[in-house]
């Protein structure tokens, strides 16, 4: 019997552990215990993914893990390389900090009898996101997309207010349209390639392109799958589900949904581009150009909508639309440097937007549930830690040096040089979008630091230690990504090379 590397079991074990957590939590009728189990599981997964990342990055390898007893063309597989491991580590760290810092919001917003259900959904969501990162089989990806959808809808409606129910309905309907298109695309693709595993599909597609068979179905399928993914990840014309859902949900849910769930679909998309369709096919079918155009318009329009918003959470939701636009712009450049920038921006946005949502939730709580930006005047003076967190997050989104957002913008600008036809558009829109970012983030930053008369009399709220740790952790992550970015971009680059093989 050949020697089995135990590290290769980590991807499967992480997904299994998260799902098992959901099942165990279902048996426990106590929110506090469910919370502790959830935190322990994420912590464990975080450490395991860290070990996996160190191992695969050092060996520079990508491996597949066979699920069940059927070998490659028939069975189900997971596949992990440096990119997957890096994303898993980031997702678990962000999840740990968000749930840790945001637990108070959950215990406050969700009725006590249903608190353990919230953590079931968090476990299921986390497991589904890990599965989307690791999977090597397109139908498994579809199933986990749906699990992701149900879990995220449950997280939005957990608050139980009528607004959150309306937001959930909107989110659910748009998401279902996206997954329906994805499923149709997958079915037709299975029909013309005869496979469900990524590597075998890629071989079949290369063969189809070479023999010029099924050109039209291939184009339609690629369109269905990528429009499906674009709808799920709220790319600009399909963004209408975000503001209502994020605006009405618990800040913890909003942070996780905006920071991680949207990204998990994009990571799946990147894996599909490299492992199934290959960059050349995407280029020849002109799909990258379409994603590029949508991405650019999202960058501008998301910011324009955000400027018009008076509610802080809805403003952050529209800001997410703009940031998703950045990521698709990177993918749409069609070069490996562009995708590297996009991957880095996924990380940068994940650590920044969750921080912003948590701080915003804390401001709303301090001002007695009022959500408009002008109600938050002086909020940062009452709660300086959240104020500093929000300010740094906003500066990072605008693109101030030393913070994560700056590096990703530098990378986008550099990447544009490698795709000459798109360089002018990228640089102009990048500039415009940064100015727009500043135009809507700075007023809110100024508002929270402006002293308000009535606020001076009110007692200053106590900050829970978990929230403080989480905000400091996020600020540290932002600075790490902003200063020691080289090793991270190096890992992304080598893993994209490995994926494309």
């Amino acid at each position: 019997m050949e020697h089995i590397n135990w590290i290769h079991n980590i991807p499967f074990f992480s997904i299994f552990l998260a799902m098992l957590g959901g099942i165990i939590t279902a048996l426990i009728n106590n929110g506090k215990i469910a919370y502790k189990i959830h935190m322990a599981i994420i912590f464990l997964i975080c450490i395991m993914s860290g070990i996996l990342l160190v191992d695969v990055a050092a060996k520079n390898e990508i491996f597949t893990f066979m699920m069940g007893h059927f070998p490659a063309p028939w069975g189900n597989e997971l596949r992990a390389g440096p990119l997957e491991a890096l994303m898993a580590v980031t997702f678990s760290v962000v999840m740990l900090l968000t749930v840790g810092g945001g637990a108070n919001f959950v215990f406050k917003d969700v009725v006590p009898e249903k608190q353990h259900l919230y953590f079931i959904m968090l476990n299921a969501l986390f497991g589904a996101m890990l599965a989307l990162i690791y999977t090597n089989d397109i139908f498994t990806a579809y199933v986990f997309i749906e699990i992701n959808t149900i879990a995220s809808c449950a997280l939005i409606m957990a608050k139980g207010t009528p607004q959150s129910m309306v937001g959930t309905t909107h989110y659910l309907i748009i998401s279902l349209l996206g997954s329906g298109l994805f499923l149709l695309g997958v079915s037709i693709l299975y029909g013309i390639t005869g496979h469900l595993l990524f590597p075998q599909m890629k071989e079949a597609i290369v063969e189809l392109i070479k023999t010029e068979q099924y050109h039209m179905p291939l184009l339609v399928v690629t369109g269905f799958i990528f429009i499906g993914i674009a709808i799920k990840s709220a790319l600009f014309p399909f963004h209408s589900m975000l503001p209502g859902a994020y605006g009405s949900a618990t800040p913890t849910s909003s942070g996780i949904l905006s920071g991680l769930v949207l990204k998990s679909y994009i990571i799946l998309g990147i894996k599909l581009i490299y492992c199934v369709f290959s960059a050349q096919v995407m280029e020849s079918l002109r799909i990258t150009d379409i994603l590029f155009a949508f991405g650019l318009s999202g960058m501008v329009m998301g910011s324009v909508y955000a400027m018009k918003e008076r509610t802080m959470k809805r403003m952050l939701a529209y800001s997410s639309v703009a940031q998703i636009g950045y990521i698709y712009m990177g993918i749409g450049m069609g070069t490996r440097v562009g995708v590297t920038a996009a991957c880095f921006h996924i990380l940068a946005h994940a650590v920044t937007k969750t921080l912003l949502f948590l701080c915003c939730g804390s401001f709303v709580e301090d001002s007695g549930g009022k959500e408009k930006i002008y109600h938050m005047r002086g909020a940062a003076l009452r709660n300086p830690l959240a104020g500093i967190g929000y300010t740094l997050g906003a500066l990072s989104m605008i693109g101030i040096p030393l913070l994560a957002g700056f590096i990703s913008k530098v990378y986008f600008a550099t990447a544009s040089v490698y795709s000459p036809g798109k360089m002018a558009a990228v640089l102009i829109v990048l500039g415009v979008s940064m100015v727009l970012n500043a135009l809507y983030f700075l007023p809110s930053v100024i508002a929270i630091w402006t002293p308000a008369k009535e606020a001076l009399n009110s007692p200053s709220p106590s900050v829970s230690p978990a929230f403080a740790v989480s905000v400091i952790g996020f600020i540290a992550l932002n600075l790490i990504l902003g200063i020691y970015y080289r090793p991270i971009t190096h890992i992304i680059q080598i893993s994209l090379d490995l994926l494309a093989q």
Binding site: T169, L184, S187, G191
Partner: protein
Amino acid sequence: MNHLETNFYEAVSVILFGIGFMNLLLQNNLIKKFIGLNIMDTAIYLFLAAQGYIFGRVAPILTDGVIDASYYINPVPAGLVLTGIVVSVSITAFSLALVQRLYKHYGSLNMDEIMRLSREEEGE
């Protein structure tokens, strides 16, 4: 025209998919919306089942000791359909629970009406 005849089931299922998709997108009544969702999903099951079936062959259950693969149809699409049905049932259950709660609160199934009432509530 020849292609249409050979791919009759596929063509019908894509038309059904379109009907379901437009219902899910445009219907105002929430129940009808989710009926649209089910039409959309069922269309895909028809598509997959039609892809997997080969005329003149039998279900892949070993009978009379024939182990030649050319005697049986492809079992994978059937597996996919089953998985898809499970997914679609759970999503329908979730959506109907949501619709029920919305109806209890707003007393309407019309999405426009619900949006209007929700905006009025927020404006207060």
